[in-house]
């Protein structure tokens, strides 16, 4: 089975945090980037060939993925391949949607010659065994299997909802329904029989090109043609971190030692590009409670219920509370940070306040400089 991760989305709802990088490259949980979860799931599920489709601001993401060795995905006949839009004699091949992106990469997929293609999103936080999903797909003799997760009735109105029969076969798909008939939301995870999907895509782009998006176009087309489409229910921890609030909230959940994500499970590790940074230094004035900190950090202030990522500095008399600070951010002295996401390489000058609330999380953007003009000159 070949894995394809769709990592081209801009993530406009993350505002300042994705102004200069793609959503899957946004830091998460102190020492990860969002895409690490999907890549690690592939590696742990025994999928050794993965294509990562990028489009929006791919520099950071490409640098992060490298040759895939950080996830053990650098095999000679496989490994990670970054797939970017390209131009050809028949025009430029920018991706117009998720299914269109697969169509544009038929050459790559055919070269790997898979029986099954696993399509994944690069922007979800979860641990999942795709091998078990493939076994289900094979047992059901499915043409397409869609990963689904039970959500509440209220949440169901924001998702693509799958209505199934008693054999778990999907009989109807409704996007963001007002009156949901089931609570099974699509996770954006699909296993396709490649030969069938390829035919659908080629037929579509030979005619009207209507199959742009998996949820919006391909699943309805499959249902219409009576393909065997099944729902594979997942019941573990799964979060879509598409908004500032959900990104902040997922980080706060990650911080809990009782999180059902179980990040410490050594049988299903989440890998990332690891750097050789010195151990964190907590000085005599440091007060750290209920927090996660990683190497390269320097803490002289107070950190409560927060996550500090690599190389973060927190100066004396500063307070960081209920917040997530991304790599290489520098927080000066006498700073207050509360209910906030602090972007990579942001500089928060002495005495500055970045204070949000449960209703509105405060954000300092990538490389943003806030307050404390004096500090730089010292």
């Amino acid at each position: 089975m070949l894995g394809i991760i769709l990592a081209g989305g801009q993530g406009t709802r993350l505002g300042k945090l994705t102004k200069s990088t793609a959503k899957p490259a946004v830091p998460f949980g102190g020492r990860y980037r969002i895409i690490d979860f999907t890549l690690s799931n592939c590696a742990n599920s025994g999928i050794d060939t993965v294509g990562v489709i990028t489009q929006y601001k791919p520099l950071e993401l490409n640098a992060h993925i490298g040759n895939g060795a950080s996830w053990g995905l650098s095999e000679q006949n496989g490994g990670v391949t970054v797939l970017q839009p390209y131009s050809a004699s028949d025009g430029e091949k920018w991706f117009k949607g998720t299914a269109h992106a697969i169509y544009q990469n038929i050459e790559y997929i055919d070269r790997m010659n898979p029986t099954y293609v696993l399509i994944l999103s690069g922007d979800h936080i979860y641990k999942m065994d795709y091998e078990a999903m493939l076994a289900y797909h094979q047992a059901k003799k499915a043409s397409l299997t869609v990963g689904v997760i039970p959500v509440t009735n209220e949440e169901a109105k924001r998702f693509g909802i799958m209505n199934t029969d008693e054999t778990e076969r999907i009989i109807q798909f409704e996007e963001k329904p007002e009156q949901p008939k089931s609570n099974l939301a699509s996770m954006g995870i699909y296993i396709f029989n490649w030969a069938t999907l390829k035919k659908y895509l080629q037929d579509s782009y030979a005619t009207d090109g209507s199959l742009e998006d998996f949820g919006h176009d391909v699943i309805p087309a499959y249902l219409e043609h009576n393909e065997a489409v099944f729902a594979y229910a997942f019941d573990g921890y799964w979060r879509d971190v598409g908004t500032i609030y959900s990104l902040w909230q997922s980080n706060m959940e990650f911080l809990s030692p009782n999180s059902t994500l179980n990040i410490g499970d050594r049988n299903w590790r989440i890998y990332s590009k690891a750097l050789a940074l010195p151990p964190m230094l907590l000085t005599e004035s440091a007060k750290v409670k209920n927090s996660m900190i990683v190497d390269g950090c320097y803490v002289a202030g107070t950190v409560t219920h927060s996550i500090l990522s690599q190389n973060v500095k927190v100066g004396e008399n500063s307070v960081v509370k209920d917040s997530m600070v991304m790599p290489n951010a520098v927080i000066g002295k006498d700073v207050v940070i509360d209910h906030a996401l602090i972007g990579e390489r942001a500089i928060i000058g002495d005495g500055a306040r970045v204070v949000g609330s449960n209703e509105e999380i405060a954000v300092a953007g990538y490389r943003e400089v806030l307050g404390g003009e004096q500090h730089e000159k010292e």
Partner: protein, 389 residues
Amino acid sequence: MKKNRLCAIINLIEPAEALLPLTEQRPLGTLPFAGRYRLLDFPLSCISNAGINTVALFLPRNGRSVGDHVRSGKDWDLDSLRGGVFTFPYNDLAVVAAQQQAEARHHFYDNYIQFLRKSGAEYVVILGTQNVNNIDISALWRYHQQRNNEMTTVYKFLPAEQVAADDQVVTLTEYGKATSILPLAEANIPAAATMVPKSLAIHMIDVRRLIELLQEANREGQAGGLNLVLKHAVMQNNTSAFEYTGFQANIRSIQDFYAANMQMLLEKNYQALFFSERQILTKVKNEIPSFFSRDSQVENCLVGTGSYIEGTVTHSVIFRNVLINRRARISDSVIMQGSRIGAGTVIEHAILDKSVVIGPNLKLIGTAEQPLVIGKGQHVYQQKEVVTQ
């Protein structure tokens, strides 16, 4: 730098008896240090930062811990197409029986010579792991070429009271040459000297010259090893002396090892060694972030990743993946990776080697001069099992 003009030898054949039991299962070079490193990381990083591609590791006995740590050398960018890391285990004449000395000696010198010939390098830098430092080998190399001597040796001026009678010191001429490397007691240093030029056991030498010296030593039946060959070479009066001015710690004993770890808690040392323009590299691990609980209290500490801390920790070096349970109180100690400390246990002035398990409500108390040492993998569940040295 053009590839392969300079190669390196890391000599791991170093005295380690004074660090028992920490060196029972490893050479000095793979002793864990400062929360996430091994002593070997310092010379490896210096070599890597100077753009050197070809490195030989000479080991006293089996190289398991060295092999586990270094692997392909990738983490130090030493797995390039040209060059690489070459290991030579069991290359210590001191452990060979008398009747086999002659044959063993030939192999011993031949290993060095073969490596040097194959490297294709013009110059070689030789380092050990006993001295923790972050030397700029590129600067040493420029100096070596400018001085136009066959050899350059490295020293650092230290306050006289920090140099012991058996520490090796460099005798300097007025014109910056070195004429000998001798123990302080034999070195004829004026008693009034406040600063003493201590040898860092780092040398740079022309490859052809070193091959000649090794062949000569083999012919003469010398069994003193590479360091002795180099010391004799210095006395031939053609050696430049290069002064190193950065951080250094000399790991000769348990006390030195303990003190050097404690020195890393001083911000100026931590910044000087780890945030200089020449990064210290090490084998990277995929540990999760360290977690500090609601009731934890951690001050003045170095902490590696993957640790889980519920107790109180002050003025200590905590390595990766250490678990410290509730109400445990740890101060002035070094706790290596994978160790587990039970609830309510008190640990003061102690060194816990890797994967040590300490039960609840125990007292492990050493002193700053004589830290209590618990060997690798030991499980201590009862107070009577705690033996003070």
